[in-house]
């Protein structure tokens, strides 16, 4: 076995029709086809999946954790953006 690590792939699974694919984890595999097999074997063993995507991990551009104050802090004080200030008549029921 080679000591070189296989490329990493991020796995997304759609559980039911109408729902979006959700990130579930990652696998190592030599190429896209084998990544799909590995994803199927690793993450759909309990009937979780109807559709699987694999994406090379290095294709993902991620935000820098060091930027989190600049990126996310400013929204913390803008509670008026949450739709929680409306009176909902009882007759509407569950929304």
């Amino acid at each position: 076995m080679s000591d070189k690590n296989w490329p990493l792939w991020e796995v997304f699974i759609r559980t039911r029709n109408g729902l979006a694919h959700r990130h579930v984890g990652s696998v190592h595999a030599v190429d896209a086809t084998m990544a799909l097999h590995a994803a199927r074997d690793t993450y759909t063993r309990r009937g979780e999946g109807l559709s699987v995507w694999v994406v090379p991990s290095n294709a993902i551009t991620a935000s820098d954790p060091a930027d989190k104050d600049m990126m996310f802090e400013p929204t913390a004080t803008k509670i008026y953006r949450h739709p929680t200030f409306y009176e909902i008549p009882d007759e509407v029921g569950h929304m």
Binding site: M1, W6, V27, H28, M34, H37, A38, D41, T42, R45
Partner: protein
């Protein structure tokens, strides 16, 4: 209703599935990567699942009160009817993948054909098994292509595995009187009718894998009559140990 052709035939299918399932389970915890560890576990469980359904049905056909456990755990090697191919040792990763390819390329169309059996139970079991074997075939084919067309070492190992296992493929297509009678009755699937499909599948994979198809020479035979290679006894000693040492043990 003891040793009827239908009982024999069902037992053969069950034994082949159980022994290959056990072989694949031997990889668990030993695979080169965790993804493949899970793949072997999954495929092994597919096969053991097939064997459970088939053993249960065989026990019903026999009508002597033997259940799946009695058939799997309490028969000796000479009573086992599996194909010799599936009891061959795992060897290296290439060896296991080539064995899986040679078997799945047969089992997938075989179970597909069996879904048209006049025996409803066999047809139902085959319908589930065909889907499972379709994946086994794809997985083994993809790996064989990458190993054969990989490095010089992986190519050499895969070609060696192919050469070593080739004498066991003849048995896949054997038809004895037991099977002949059931084929004519529309119950069993005729393996000789699958030869062309198998050849095409295997040849395509070998071409992509830059591997050389071995010449058909002397073919091993005997699994159907209980004449096994030395390996089966070792498999059973591990597989049956608990039920032999502690009869009826449950947990």
């Amino acid at each position: 209703m003891t040793d009827t052709p239908l009982f024999q035939y069902t037992l053969r299918l069950a034994d082949t599935a159980l022994i290959l399932g056990h072989r694949l389970s031997e990889w668990v915890g030993h695979s080169p990567v965790i993804e493949e560890d899970l793949a072997f576990g999954n495929m092994g469980l597919d096969l053991i699942g097939q064997s459970r359904a088939l053993y249960t049905y065989a026990g019903q056909i026999e009508g002597k009160g033997r259940d799946e456990d009695a058939l799997a755990y309490l028969r000796d090697a000479g009573d086992y009817r599996n194909l010799l191919l599936v009891e061959q040792p795992n060897g290296d990763f290439a060896n296991t993948m080539v064995r899986q390819l040679l078997y799945a390329a047969f089992a997938y169309p075989h179970f597909e054909a069996l879904t048209r059996s006049k025996d409803e139970m066999l047809a139902a079991i085959a319908a589930k098994a065909a889907k499972e074997m379709a994946y086994h075939l794809r997985h083994a084919a993809e790996w064989t292509i990458r190993l054969g067309d990989g490095t010089e070492e992986s190519h050499t190992r895969t070609q060696n595995a192919l050469d070593e296992l080739w004498p066991y493929v003849g048995e896949l297509f054997e038809v004895d009187p037991v099977e002949r009678a059931l084929i004519e009755a529309g119950v069993a699937a005729d393996p000789t009718a699958l030869r062309a499909t198998w050849d095409k599948t295997v040849d395509e994979v070998l071409a992509d894998a830059t591997l050389t198809r071995p010449r058909d020479g002397y073919m091993q035979s005997g699994g159907r009559t209980g004449r096994h290679s030395e390996h089966l006894g070792h498999i059973l000693s591990e597989l049956q140990f608990l039920q032999r040492a502690y009869p009826g043990a449950t947990w």
